[in-house]
């Protein structure tokens, strides 16, 4: 990070030497790197303090995260719920009606949705729902009221939903062709019992391994969503921090993502063991 040219206090007009030295001293940037690192780690471990923002005078990194993260968390979790529930059900229904018109439509739709990036999706949604229909506000957050939530959630969840649906469909198809499903049919179980009691758990395994990292990506937000809908989540803060060389904010958000990634990979492992008895020991 430090090796990238520029710094938090570089601007077009050069600051006087003395002023720059003073500021650097205040933030501890004059100290050798190993010292900076030790101070930083000690601060996090002992006080849970990620240090001050170098860009905003009165905000600490904790403030930036405390302000932005709840926003991203809210639309992220909603997007996750939408992506998983729609994706999984669409995948199951397509697999059950394999090679039917519905299956082809679902596959076509998911391919379309998967290749449609959210920075294309967002403006399309705004054009339809704000400009044409006038149903939804084109941006803002307003404390996370539902009207302000809908479009960010749709824009963020669509492509994930499509991926989940496709994974779900193919794994469900594979499970439905397995020997133990033939046994279940020979037992005279209804389709509903076969799908939900016998096929769902094994078919969910590949989806779950996809969901761990996806969940982290969704709740740590998306720059596009934050910028396009002015939601004020940490996705935007992250990009701004990078542009401003706001070292401590970049570090803070990176560490947050790291912790979440580790946590949810562990959650995935635990879910795996819960579903597949062969993994328990």
């Amino acid at each position: 990070m430090h090796s990238a040219p520029g710094g938090p206090f570089t601007s077009e007009r050069k600051l006087p030497e003395q002023v720059l030295a003073n500021i650097e001293a205040k933030y501890g940037l004059d100290q050798p790197y190993y010292k900076q690192l030790t101070n930083y780690v000690v601060g996090i471990v002992t006080k849970g303090d990620f240090g001050p923002s170098f860009r905003y005078k009165d905000r600490s990194v904790n403030d930036v995260i405390a302000q932005g993260f709840p926003v991203t968390l809210k639309y992220g979790i909603w997007s996750f719920i939408v992506a998983v529930s729609v994706g999984v059900s669409l995948g199951i229904v397509a697999a059950i009606n394999h090679n039917s018109v519905f299956d082809y439509l679902a596959v076509g739709f998911t391919i379309g949705a998967q290749v449609l990036p959210n920075f294309v999706m967002a403006p399309i949604l705004v054009i339809i729902f704000t400009l044409w229909l006038g149903w939804l506000p084109g941006g803002g957050w307003n404390g996370g009221q539902w009207q302000y939530l809908i479009m960010p959630v749709i824009a963020l969840s669509t492509s994930y939903m499509a991926s989940i649906a496709r994974i779900m469909r193919s794994s469900m198809l594979e499970v439905l062709n397995s020997n133990f499903i033939r046994t279940a049919k020979a037992k005279g179980l209804s389709n509903r019992q076969i799908i939900f009691k016998h096929a769902l758990k094994p078919a969910l395994l590949p989806v779950i391994s996809y969901l761990g990292p996806t969940f982290v990506l969704m709740i740590t937000g998306s720059v596009v969503i934050d910028i396009y809908f002015s939601t004020g989540g940490i996705g935007r803060e992250f990009v701004n921090a990078a542009l401003n060389r706001d070292y401590s904010v970049i570090m803070g958000i990176t560490i947050l993502m790291g912790i979440l990634t580790i946590t949810f990979n562990m959650v995935v492992d635990i879910l795996y063991a819960w579903i597949d008895p062969k993994i328990r020991y």
């Binding site: 020997n179 046994t183 279940a184 037992k187 005279g188 094994p202």
Partner: protein, 328 residues
């Protein structure tokens, strides 16, 4: 009325290159508590015959003809109605016990579900009954085993579980699709004993699908021989074993070792089973047949009844003798 009547059953599979006939126009009856073996090489259509009867064909398979259970037509029956029969009146044990149980569910739930579904038992009663069934298939320590997952059991134990599930609803017909193929030879013998004893105890008819004539000789009353999707010969075990009429049955018998006659040389049937996509003209067996006549190359012999209920599909009426002698 026969317990189980199959009439003019054909099974076709649609593939990218066209339609393949896996079962060609076969008919047979099975009576109460009878043990009938369907014998044939891989791909002769023996499994597809029973899968078609239970509506378990792969997605691209189509069955035509008629399969009646106690007078009720099974082909084309709605899944909901069919589900009242399969797993209840007609149960099936599959070839591969390693993959035929659901690896994600405990043995207990896989056993209980058939009893609660078909017999309307409560879960506690069903559990007790399941443990009793596991005892009946002579699984030691049934109370422990029932709490396990399939991967914690050996192949033989799993097959016993499969049999216990199949028999727990006291079916009128038990279909066993190569039930011993995936098992060790030592376990095979135990398993056959079990089949023989249990079907007798439960008064169920047994349809045994196998390519192992040793298995057939041990437990079946009658047998049917299939080749390339067609029934080529049927009759009682004794008749077919001691005086086969069809050259294919004859060939099968001479390629099977006998304990009581260890000196006998094994005579394999030359050639390979035909591809169903590209069947030979006339009788499908003619390229491998030592007794073929000219007309065998042109027309397929129909299955015609001979005396005392036997049938076979062959034009050759002479005596079948060992090829080594025939070549002299």
């Amino acid at each position: 009325m026969n317990l189980f009547e199959v009439k003019d059953l054909s099974v076709d599979f649609k593939t990218l290159t066209g339609s393949v006939k896996a079962v060609d126009n076969i008919s047979f009856n099975i009576g109460k508590a009878e043990t009938v073996a369907i014998v044939g090489e891989s791909g002769s259509g023996k499994s597809q015959t029973v899968l078609a009867a239970l509506g378990l064909l792969a997605e691209n398979g189509v069955a035509t003809g008629s399969v009646k259970f106690e007078g009720q037509e099974l082909l084309g029956l709605e899944t909901k109605e069919l589900n009242k029969i399969r797993g209840n009146q007609i149960s099936m044990v599959f070839q591969d016990p390693m993959t035929s149980l659901n690896p994600f569910m405990r043995i207990s739930s896989q056993m209980i579900e058939v009893l609660t579904l078909h017999k309307g038992m409560s879960k506690t009663d069903a559990l007790k009954e399941s443990i009793r069934m596991l005892d009946a298939v002579r699984l030691p320590d049934a109370k422990q085993v029932i709490t396990r997952f399939p991967h914690e059991l050996s192949g033989g134990m799993r097959q016993r579980v499969m049999i216990a599930i199949a028999l727990s609803t006291e079916p009128k017909i038990l279909i066993a699709d190569e039930p011993t193929t995936a098992l060790d030879v030592t376990v095979q013998a135990q398993m056959l004993e079990l089949f023989k004893g249990l079907t007798k105890d439960f008064g169920a008819a047994l349809i045994l699908i196998t390519h192992d004539l040793g298995v057939v000789a041990g437990i079946a009353d009658r047998m049917m021989v299939m080749y390339a999707g067609r029934l080529v010969e049927k009759g009682t075990i004794d008749e077919l074993f001691y005086s086969p009429h069809h050259p294919y049955t004859f060939g099968l018998l001479h390629s099977t070792p006998h304990v009581d006659n260890p000196e006998m040389r094994l005579e394999p049937i030359d050639g390979l089973p035909p591809s169903l996509e590209n069947l030979p003209s006339g009788c499908a067996f003619h390229p491998r047949c030592d007794f073929k006549l000219d007309r065998c190359l042109i027309e397929a012999p129909p299955l015609h009844k001979s005396a005392n209920g036997r049938s076979n599909a062959c034009f050759y009426k002479g005596e079948l003798v060992k090829r080594s002698k025939a070549g002299e």
